[in-house]
């Protein structure tokens, strides 16, 4: 992501409209013989000033030109803050001033203080649980829509699945509080039905509540990629499997699931990566046992006024996510290659 942004940023100035370059003067690049094509464009355009800037550019350059503005945007809003955080993590806080000498003190503290490692471990655990719960619950829904819903109704179903997104994330989290609370919808219904005597307490203000709330919030993000992967499966492959003697279950495990794996992996990553860094949900429904690493980062930055330590924690969390995601991608790639 970062390198992608930098790549476009580096190229973007080269894509400035060539007709603006005076014919007599050659750009440094052209002199170096780097952009032969651009040179020709300059000559061509000089005879016909009215031509648009993109005319005569190769497809690759047109593509770069198109991608340049979002690339620039990504650099400014992603790479620069990221660099700042990285830099900050190697500085230290000296009461009210920043000490800008390079130090690994923050990392040492982050790795030695048990609380931080506990929070990181809990974040990974919760994110893992959310991911598993979301993907396992999303798969049957995606499967149902792809295989059992009439083709002309599919877009309606997908549309219905996105309905929870019509309201703000915050409101949805608050609603879960209403549902899961001590005198909440769930508890009073179960009590009213005589199923439980005392209200259930393990469903709010702990890690369970975080998992429930996040799994619901990310469900559509998991359903969509899995649905797309299932849609792409040629139905005659499933008939071929049946024809070759396999029943419904084996056809699923030998054909449908392996072919849906790209969608499942996408769903896993889409859910896992943002979940680790979530701090709104743990803050609102997590209680003391449900707090995650992002809450600690926020605390360090805003309350304890120790931005460098917060930055170091953020970098560590980011690296953990990157490594785990990479591991997931590599593992599935190997599995798909050597798969049965």
């Amino acid at each position: 992501m970062i390198s992608w942004g930098v790549f476009h940023w580096k190229h973007a100035p080269f894509e400035s409209p060539p007709k603006l370059l005076p014919q007599c003067r050659k750009s440094p690049l052209e002199r170096a013989g780097v952009s032969h094509n651009l040179g020709r464009t300059t000559e061509h355009v000089s005879g016909d000033v009215g031509l648009s800037a993109g005319h005569g550019l190769s497809d690759a350059k047109k593509g770069l030109l198109l991608a340049a503005p979002p690339g620039l945007y990504a650099v400014l809003l992603l790479a620069v803050p990221l660099g700042a955080v990285l830099l900050l993590s190697f500085w230290s806080q000296d009461f009210l001033t920043l000490d800008r000498t390079f130090t690994l003190k923050n990392y040492r503290e982050a790795f030695t203080e048990p609380l931080y490692m506990l929070l990181l471990g809990r974040s990974l655990l919760i994110a893992g649980a959310v991911t598993i719960a979301t993907v396992v619950l999303a798969f049957p829904i995606a499967y149902f829509v792809s295989f059992y819903v009439r083709p002309e109704r599919k877009s309606l179903w997908i549309f219905l699945i996105t309905i929870p997104f019509w309201t703000s994330y915050l409101i949805r989290v608050f609603l879960w509080k209403v549902i899961l609370g001590y005198n909440g919808v769930l508890n009073s219904s179960l009590q009213g039905l005589g199923i439980i005597e005392e209200p259930l307490t393990f469903i709010l203000y702990n890690a369970n509540a975080v998992v429930i709330t996040l799994a619901h919030a990310f469900a559509p993000f998991a359903i969509l990629p899995i649905f797309v992967a299932l849609e792409k499966i040629d139905r005659s492959l499933l008939e071929a499997s049946r024809d070759l003697g396999e029943g419904k279950f084996r056809t699923f495990t030998r054909v449908t699931l392996p072919l849906a794996m790209p969608g499942v992996v996408a769903a896993i990553l889409i859910v896992f990566i943002p979940t680790i860094g979530d701090y709104v949900t743990p803050r609102l429904v997590g209680g003391p046992d449900g707090l995650m690493i992002a809450n600690m980062i926020q605390t360090q930055f805003l309350k304890l006024n120790n931005a460098p330590l917060g930055a170091a924690l953020a970098v560590i969390a980011m690296l953990s996510v990157s490594l785990i995601s990479l591991g997931i991608v590599l593992a599935t790639m190997r599995w798909m290659k050597g798969g049965k």
């Binding site: 005659s236 499997s241 049946r242 003697g245 396999e246």
Partner: protein, 362 residues
Amino acid sequence: MKPLISLSGLTKSFGDVEVLKGIEAEIGEGEFFSLLGPSGCGKTTLLRIIAGFETPTSGALLLGGQNMAGVPANKRPTNMVFQSYAVFPHLSVAQNVGFGLRRSGLSQTEKGKKIEEALGMVGLAGYGGRAAHALSGGQRQRVALARALILEPKVLLLDEPLSALDKKLREQMQSELRRLQRQVGITFILVTHDQEEALIMSDRIAVMFDGQIAQLAAPQELYRRPVSRRVGDFIGVMNFLPADGRLEEGRDIVLDIAGLGRTVVEQDQCPAGFVNGSGAVGVRPESLQILFEGEQARGEVAKGEVAEVIYYGDMTYYEIALPGAPERLTVSMKNRAGRPVLERGVAARLEWDASSLIYFPA
């Protein structure tokens, strides 16, 4: 012929649409059987019923004397080569071919040997390790064939297997499929809309129109004695001329043919059964001859004019306009040495023979 499959009173409806309207047929053991017809005639539905992917609305399907009602596709002794080949893209060639061997009880080495044998049979020896998605269309087809044949089914079902291949490859696969069928000796049922393909490959052909079998016969019989004008028109090229027919002495049929005049034909030249009145006479292009200069007529002769010349290299097709005939007649002539190719507009003498005519009462 020992019947292996028997279809009786088979019908199939999708909603209000009746796709099959009472199919009656018997398909023999070791036979190369083709279902031929234009698209939408129900031939693929019939094949899918035999495979077990569709259930008939009514009627019975017996396979080897056993009623197949309620037997799912994975429990039937049939295997199919799909139109799209349906080669599993996530598996290697060997894994594709060995897909159905999971419950065969064979050891890994036995399976490997069997897979290699099957690949050799379809001309893909040594391809086992390749990724299936990297194969060409022709190779994919061979993988699909090997994958089906390795299970030694009683019946191999082929759903328009050659329609996606280019002409050269298609012709090569036609003779190869025929060779394979003789080699393994099992029943092949081929669905095709290509009449030439059906004629080349089949022992018997069922021509289907609108959910019904119009004629079920061997290729030669089908070509020479089509039971209806529609079948004659669908198989190869056939010229049609309006004609009036009546029975003479209860035996021969006297025909008054537009453009050709009066002639007498025998009863078996009217395969659909004779009815007094008007109808049409059909005649194949190769049954008509153009008499070149100096050639003696052996049959009857009609005089006309060359209206169109289509030169094919080995053959020339002429369209001859006959006075009194509403449509031009297509005549095919072999381009022998010393025989000129006539030009448009010249007069032509057309030789014909009453024994090559087929009469279709309206």
